[in-house]
Symmetry: C2
């Protein structure tokens, strides 16, 4: 029986991304090994948590054994192993739908290509936008979606359209064979089976923050530390 | 001994925001009660998970008892109880620092005021921006930060500045007495003790998505369902 592909818990997955960011500059500086304690200290995470997170990476059949007790993790091997789990060992061609303010902010942020997520296609429903050149790419009309996604082997769609058209565009992206959607519209979208979605929702992020501030204020008022 | 303020787990906290979004329109339609099963079905969450999440709300001393077995939860009471825990029962005055593309996208998104997070101050480090009017507000220079935050009783700062200046601005916000920061810069910022931070990090979101797509692809290849 082949080993089961385990779904990595979301908080672990998010920390793996942070670990990558910390390990990469160390490799550039020529550092050979890194202890779970040193890695944890950089991020304010306990060494036990780091070891637990990295155990997820090591248990995956996608990875090499990379950690040795007392010696620490081999930086290069651990970096490679995490990248294979995260999927950033390959290049993901992405299509941006919507070139309003959010779309332009994304196009203006050069980190994508470096991170392995080049935007190769940009589209907009506004016919006045079609044909315009933004950040080296020409805005395509929505009618060009399916063909552009095939031509550029796009696997990830970035949904930066208003709430009112988000579901319709998400459905178009799914029908065109996209595998994942990064959704900036402030709503949950319904997608085809097998399509992954990550939501970036500013309202929810603000609510998380107000919850944290409220709890922090209450624990100050009662003279208790938050658990 | 006063009851301890318990830190709600992050996934539960995020679901509480989603529950609010679902319950609100039902109240507007006059619906009295809602079962955990019906609420869960709207969001693709099990009724057991909904009950577990709402138990966090009910255990908090901030809330009323709102659920009754067999009858379901009283919509109005549950909505009020969640809002008290999330902190959206009050108005949070926010200051936006940085009126580039991300900042403008946020100013253009009208949902904030409705959600209880009005942007009352906008600031930018670029002297050419100072004095310009955007979305009904006049851009202030950074030198006006401390005074503007006091005058407008700002509790939350929205950090929409480049990575290079993010830490310096975060420190300024902390020194000015802010209680929470919504950070859009693609890096972890260090803040004063007692200040809460929520990060909106597009690179990390893309990595989460590539991880999900990779796992989904692997489970398709091996003919196994992801756990």
């Amino acid at each position: 029986m082949p080993p089961t592909v385990r779904r990595i818990p979301r908080p672990t997955a998010q920390r793996l991304s942070l670990y990558l960011r910390e390990i990469q500059p160390l490799i550039a500086l020529g550092q050979q090994t890194l202890s779970s304690r040193a890695l944890g200290e950089k991020l304010g995470i306990s060494s036990a948590q780091v070891r637990k997170d990295l155990a997820w990476v090591l248990q995956s059949k996608q990875t090499n054994e990379a950690g040795r007790s007392g010696v620490g993790y081999n930086c290069v091997k651990m970096h490679d192993s995490i990248r294979r789990v995260v999927g950033t060992n390959r290049r993901w061609s992405t299509a941006l739908v919507g070139v309003g303010n959010i779309g332009r902010a994304l196009l203006g942020y050069g980190g994508f290509v470096q991170d392995g997520f080049p935007i190769t296609v940009i589209l907009d429903a506004d016919p006045r936008m079609a044909g315009k050149r933004i950040g080296g790419l020409v805005v395509q009309p929505m009618s060009a979606l399916r063909k552009a996604i095939r031509t550029h082997r796009v696997t990830i769609g970035i949904l930066a359209v208003p709430r009112s058209s988000a579901q319709a565009v998400a459905t178009q992206l799914c029908d065109a064979g996209i595998q994942g959607i990064l959704n900036f519209a402030p709503m949950r979208i319904t997608v085809s089976k097998g399509v992954s979605v990550t939501n970036i929702d500013v309202s929810i992020a603000l609510e998380q923050l107000s919850m944290d501030v409220s709890i922090s204020n209450r624990s100050r008022l009662t003279g208790e530390g938050a658990v």
